[in-house]
Subunit: 210 residues, 2 copies
Amino acid sequence: MGKTTLTRKEREKLRHKKEILSAALKLFSERGFHNVSMQQIAEASEFAVGSLYNFFASKEALFEELANNCGEEITSTLIIILDGPGTELERLTNFIRYAPVLLEEHAAFMRLYVSELGTRGVKLSKRQEKEDLVAAVNTRLEQLLANGIRKGVFRCVDPAITTKAINSTLETLAFENAGHFDKVAVTEMFEKVERLFIDGLLVPEGQDNE
Amino acid sequence: MGKTTLTRKEREKLRHKKEILSAALKLFSERGFHNVSMQQIAEASEFAVGSLYNFFASKEALFEELANNCGEEITSTLIIILDGPGTELERLTNFIRYAPVLLEEHAAFMRLYVSELGTRGVKLSKRQEKEDLVAAVNTRLEQLLANGIRKGVFRCVDPAITTKAINSTLETLAFENAGHFDKVAVTEMFEKVERLFIDGLLVPEGQDNE
DNA sequence: TCGTTAGGTGAATCTAAATTCATTATATGA
DNA sequence: TCATATAATGAATTTAGATTCACCTAACGA
């Protein structure tokens, strides 16, 4: 019947699962993992508590699935940008410029990510996956910076530290703005970040690198 | 008897309270507020659970006292640096350089601060005080940057954004290093931060600001 | 129509932790 | 030494919230 290999029932089930995840994401991002109960998720998603357990083995499992889903989506986009065409300067600029888009599309998850999973964190069993995703982005950003430095485009800074600085700054601003998203204000804000980091990294004209 | 106005008993009590706070700080910083029980704090401090309640009305109250104590101590030092003598450049440099010292002396609290109170956060009732402390530091740092820009020492960046960038970078590194503190490595790391931000902020020689 | 099955339901149960409080120990000073 | 006050104790109670499960309901094929 459907255009996929899934039966209608299966599609329904998947949709229900997504509804639960979506409601949970909203709540978790607003109040944090420990301050949201399964009851509340049930109410918000208009299911019964018991039903949640038809989809997820535990609250923690639900959270993990959420984190993995969203994390994958976001990091894969970032990796495409970092691995994409263009000079180091262009790609780094795109990376920073993309933040507002990410924020608009995934505001709730960004909040969740920064507060529960970011550099800090709640302890979860299978956090492995997420570590890998983040590491993948960081490695690429570091590499990009290192290349830019070698080519004499960027000043001779430490790529690892600079990566951390850029990421933590973006995370912080993302978190602050995820609540009350205002496209214009946010875009403007990230332009300032761009000027801070990009201009601060460029080798001043007429000077040699190192 | 004592050199203060406190009786011996009172001093004893105070010491006991400090012992509890100290044990709690260690645990909270390692595992986070929600993952530490009053039982555990009792064991670690070698008191009975009930005794904790002779000192603090609730677990949350205990946490708040901890946060306020340490927060005050740290921010007051930072404010002294930011308000101190010296040019904007010198004071900003000192601010960043002071991070390792802070980290060495207050590693546990730094961890706690970043994970539970930093820009993100657990919801607590009387978080007001802490907000004020942080705001006091941020305002001064912004002001310092603004002055530096006006005097043509720093590039024309946004002081508020730059403040956030510097703080979040320092916080992130502090958090990462609070666990396994290594003076040499940490000092080296913060020197790189210094180069990243300070050098990146300076107006290139022979050029005019704006 | 009827039996079967996959979800769905939510009250009941279980669990981990916070909080209380009757009891015990210790110190002080008459 | 004894009376009193102050602090310490930890078993018992309470509470909040996760998890279970015996029971529904709707859809589908026979």
